[in-house]
């Protein structure tokens, strides 16, 4: 955090301009916020994205349909899998590719594992920021166990490059179902410890309760999705609204809370993780046998007829949409991602930081579950 005493923006002698990030310890990712403060109180906040602009949407216009597939996952480092899913869905819709039944189940299981891993990562960031280092380390460790699963299934720990148009890239290796079950049981066995140390900790309650409060009306107006919206009492989840993969094949529930503050957002994340684990067990039981990949056309000759589409999935952060246009060629004509961190990290963050205290900047930002690479792309 640095101060600028001579800023012209400062109108009263007590007013300061503070730069929060990108090098600040409380900041996750390459992102920064400029704060105008008076004492401890924030008068105005301005989000500064752009540090992570890699031009993916443009880059994708220069790569063939299959060459884009290893790249989309890089847009969101924390949860690459829903990026793969949304791209595969868009291509399948444009090119009319059928996906085998089993692949739908594998996709759902894989996406839910990814959601748990992503939430654990988010929990690490949040707990770390509040000073709960112990819990943060547990979360990181448990996330690593899931990365082991990913490594075994896909050959990669972070970038899995697994869901591709036509299905998934390889079937489950032998004994993989049991490994998923064992890993999830060992993580699930630690939930009481997490609760005792963090979620039911008085310090967490005091620190997060009532902070960054958003009403349902505001959430809707600002385009919030995911936990930010569900923590305001709105039961909205793309997996229910527009089921994809195998989400309509098993019974599951959408966790919701009413308060709309940081406390409730983090609780929704916790409940979602548990719901995801239950869902994975159900999906594993219901998973049929069969093929997992319908061969896509020869990649060197693959053209997709002229069309455009918008598809959306529920990523771990909210509605992830992809608008893609094909002009009938070997490459997409236009690609645009609608990422959940965009409204959360830019619009809602600025609103909620107004009148907050400096100590709560990280608290509010991370409870909104902002991932900077998603904003910039």
């Amino acid at each position: 955090m640095s101060m600028n005493l001579n800023s012209k923006a400062a109108t009263s002698p007590r007013e300061l301009e503070l730069y929060f990030g990108p090098q600040h310890l409380g900041m996750v990712g390459n992102f920064s916020i400029t704060l105008k403060v008076e004492g401890d109180r924030i008068l105005e906040a301005q989000a500064n994205p752009g540090y992570l602009h890699r031009g993916f949407e443009k880059l994708m216009e220069y790569r063939t349909w299959i060459q884009n597939f290893p790249m989309v996952c890089r847009i969101n480092v924390v949860e690459p899998d829903s990026m793969e899913m949304v791209y595969a869905m868009a291509v399948e819709k444009l090119a009319n590719i059928e996906v085998p039944e089993k692949a739908h189940y594998i996709r759902s299981i894989y996406l839910e594992l990814s959601r748990v891993a992503s939430h654990l990562f988010g929990l690490w960031a949040y707990a770390n920021m509040l000073g709960f280092d112990t819990v943060a380390q547990w979360a990181m460790y448990h996330r690593d166990l899931i990365l082991d699963l990913f490594e075994e299934l896909t050959g990669g720990r972070v970038y899995h490059i697994y869901i591709w148009p036509g299905g998934v890239r390889r079937d489950f290796p032998p004994g993989f179902k049991d490994k998923i079950v064992n890993t999830l049981h060992s993580i699930g066995g630690c939930v009481p410890d997490y609760d005792a140390t963090f979620f039911n900790n008085r310090l967490f309650y005091e620190r997060a309760k009532g902070i960054g409060k958003l009403t349902q009306q505001q959430a809707k107006e600002f385009g919030a999705t995911g936990q930010t919206l569900r923590a305001t009492g709105m039961k909205f989840d793309i997996r229910k609204v527009e089921p994809y993969a195998a989400y309509d094949k098993v019974d599951w529930d959408v966790p919701v809370r009413e308060e709309g503050d940081a406390y409730s957002r983090v609780w929704v994340i916790r409940d979602e993780m548990i719901e995801s684990v239950h869902m994975i067990f159900k999906l594993l039981d219901a998973m049929p046998e069969g093929e997992v990949y319908n061969r896509i056309p020869n990649p060197f000759k693959w053209r997709i007829p002229k069309a455009e589409t918008y598809v959306r999935v529920e990523s771990s952060r909210g509605e992830l949409g992809l608008y893609m246009v094909s002009s009938g060629g070997y490459k997409p004509y236009r690609v645009h991602f609608r990422t959940p961190s965009y409204p959360n990290g830019l619009i809602i963050l600025e609103k909620l930081l107004k009148n907050a205290s400096i100590a709560d900047v990280g608290n509010i930002m991370i409870s909104l579950y902002v991932v900077a690479p998603e904003i910039d792309r």
Partner: protein, 621 residues
């Protein structure tokens, strides 16, 4: 989870439960004393088996990051259908996505479970991936390998990670099946066996081509295969035909009987089935009724030069086409009543109908080539006169004299070529009910299948047998696998590994063939020199014998003085220079009398070369 949704302020003491964790073992690994084994599918550094790699370059084409470049390796002696290029990886660019593995048709490129490389020199991050088969030095067994030294130059052997799987490959290993008439039905008549692709089937088959162009290197005439296949895929038949005609003016013929060196080279054939290049050419030729309007050819201004072509087979037709386009006046002489040469009399009607031949011949004639059929050079017109009258001569007379086994009483047997000719453009030889065909080559297969059809036509409903006997065993039989399979499917019996000893004759009629067991066909130098176990004999019963053991050229039309000047190679082929010219000035040659492949597409390649040579010579004078 539902019970937790009510607000609880929580406890101040419960967090101390975490103290339990103090007494648990740490979860982190103390690297490098403890190491973690990567998963079996781990996507680490590349491995490439240089023996299996064909240098097709598909990995470089699909790489999204342009991390792979194909680099020529001069030390590698390229095999006939391969390139001596190998992929070079740049680990500054590679994202380990493994698309290169999923597109590799040979399955040579894999990813290993290695991921350590530490070096001060950034140049070491670009390197040629190899595996333990191709690079023994840097791939070490568990005894020598140390994780402390792990790098691109110090790797563990047998450490494969993400490998190619045909079920998940990015190419389609199976070809679109060609519809054919079933053996039971086709053997009863001369109906064309291969029905031909429909437009949808052809497009689907064409879509499999990966455009690596190994086929174009392998084709003797170097047709632009990947271009014309792509044009078929894109539903541009005119364009496809134009590409074919650049190098091959007889696609209707070649699309049916080509020896398809291209398909043997196709990178998809390594682990799957080659793209059906020959059938696609046939589709391109058949789908266009009138070549002339589709091709929009523009022949050059007449040069006033005259070229004589002796023999109107594939080589003669091709050179006539190429030279006519260059503006020269071409006259082609042939003793047969129509064009096509050996194609007209050799491949039976079920393989190559006359209409398919005439389509190509008529098109070439329509360009202004003068055909003088039914004209035997040396009899109806003297070679000396042609030499005097024309500026250049192209000899492509083929091999027209059937060879004989010369065993006892074999003069009662029939010869392959007259038999095939009679079946194709005559009324069909009167055949016996039990026929023995001597030979194991493609011509023998043609003869046997032709004989079987004639038997079924001449003795409908009766029990008839055709059998072949060949010196070569199954694995060394010169006929193609495909041809042998089709022949077997029609019920023809094979007797491989037997040599004819004597034809048994009673009352001037053939009763059978006495055979002896073959010990070996070739000597140690690989030359044809059969040896037999004289005591092991077998008698094959039969009332007709046809010899199909090869043909020789007939140079009797050449005046003695000229023939003495004609030089031959050690393999008894006419010697030509780099322009296709023989040792006789202004006389060029090509086709079966020049090359060792003895097939149509090589004859076309010879014609292409000689056309350039003749054109060069005629322009100079």
């Amino acid at each position: 989870m539902k019970e937790k949704t009510t607000d609880k302020k929580g406890s101040l003491l419960s967090p101390f439960k975490a103290i339990n964790y103090l007494f648990k073992k740490p979860r982190t690994l103390r690297y490098p004393f403890e190491s973690k084994e990567p998963a079996l599918r781990y996507r680490g550094f590349h491995l490439n088996d240089w023996e299996k790699c064909t240098g097709c370059g598909n990995c470089a084409d699909i790489c999204p990051n342009e991390a792979i470049t194909m680099v020529e390796i001069p030390e590698i002696e390229p095999k006939a259908s391969e390139k001596n290029e190998r992929p070079k990886l740049d680990y500054g660019r590679c994202c380990f996505c493994g698309l290169c593995v999923d597109i590799c048709p040979a399955g040579s490129l894999r990813l290993s479970r290695d991921y350590f490389h530490i070096h001060f020199d950034t140049d070491t991050f670009t390197f040629f991936p190899k595996d333990e088969n191709s690079d023994k030095e840097h791939f070490l067994g568990s005894g020598q390998y140390s994780i402390l030294k792990a790098s691109l130059a110090h790797r563990k052997e047998n450490y494969e990670g993400f490998v190619s799987d045909l079920d998940y490959s990015l190419f389609e290993p199976q070809r679109v099946p060609m519809p054919e008439v079933a053996p039971e039905e086709r053997k009863l008549s001369f109906i064309e066996q291969v029905i031909g692709y429909s437009k949808e089937e052809a497009q689907k088959e064409a879509s499999r081509c990966l455009e690596c162009k190994l086929c174009e290197e392998a084709c003797p005439a170097h047709l632009k295969i990947s271009d014309y296949v792509k044009a078929i895929y894109e539903d541009k038949p005119d364009e496809s035909l134009k590409k074919i005609f650049e190098d091959n003016p007889i696609p209707s013929i070649c699309g049916r009987i080509c020896m398809k060196h291209c398909e043997a080279a196709c990178s998809l054939s390594i682990r799957g089935q080659a793209v059906a290049i020959r059938w696609l050419k046939r589709f391109a030729a058949d789908s266009i009724k009138d070549y002339k309007t589709a091709l929009e050819l523009k022949p050059a201004e007449p040069s006033g030069r005259k070229v004589a072509v002796i023999g109107a087979g594939p080589s003669g037709l091709s050179i006539a086409y190429f030279l006519t386009l260059k503006g020269h006046k071409v006259t082609a002489f042939d003793c047969l009543p129509g064009g096509g040469g050996m194609m007209r009399i050799g491949p039976p009607l079920y393989r190559l109908p006359i209409e398919a031949i005439d389509k190509d011949v008529n098109h070439i004639a329509s360009l202004g080539v003068e055909f003088r059929f039914n004209t035997t050079v040396g009899k109806d017109i003297l070679f000396e006169d042609i030499l005097r009258e024309y500026d250049a001569i192209y000899l492509c007379i083929g091999t027209t004299v059937s060879r004989s086994t010369k065993v006892k009483n074999i003069d009662k047997a029939h010869q392959a070529l007259p038999f095939l000719q009679e079946g194709k453009i005559g009324s069909g030889t009167k055949v016996g009910k039990e026929i023995i065909v001597i030979g194991g080559g493609n011509v023998a297969m043609d003869v046997a299948r032709e004989a079987l059809r004639l038997q079924h036509i001449q003795y409908p409903g009766e029990n008839v047998i055709t059998k072949t006997v060949s010196l070569e065993d199954w694995n060394e039989m010169p006929a193609t696998k495909e041809e042998i399979e089709d022949t077997k499917a029609e019920g023809i019996q094979f007797n491989p590994g037997w040599g004819p000893k004597e034809a048994k004759v009673e009352d001037d009629r053939i009763k059978g063939l006495l055979c002896v067991k073959v010990e070996s066909v070739f000597d140690e130098q690989g030359r044809f020199s059969p040896t037999f176990y004289e005591e092991k004999q077998m008698f094959l019963q039969g009332d007709m014998i046809i010899e199909a053991i090869g043909q020789a050229p007939d140079f009797s039309f050449l005046p003695k003085g000229l023939f003495e000047n004609l030089e031959f190679t050690p393999q008894r082929k006419v010697k030509v220079d780099e322009n296709g010219m023989t040792s006789i000035l202004r006389v060029f040659a090509g086709g079966d009398i020049v090359n060792l492949n003895l097939d149509a597409v090589t004859a076309i390649a010879d014609a292409k070369l000689a056309a350039e040579g003749i054109h060069k010579m005629l322009c100079k004078r």
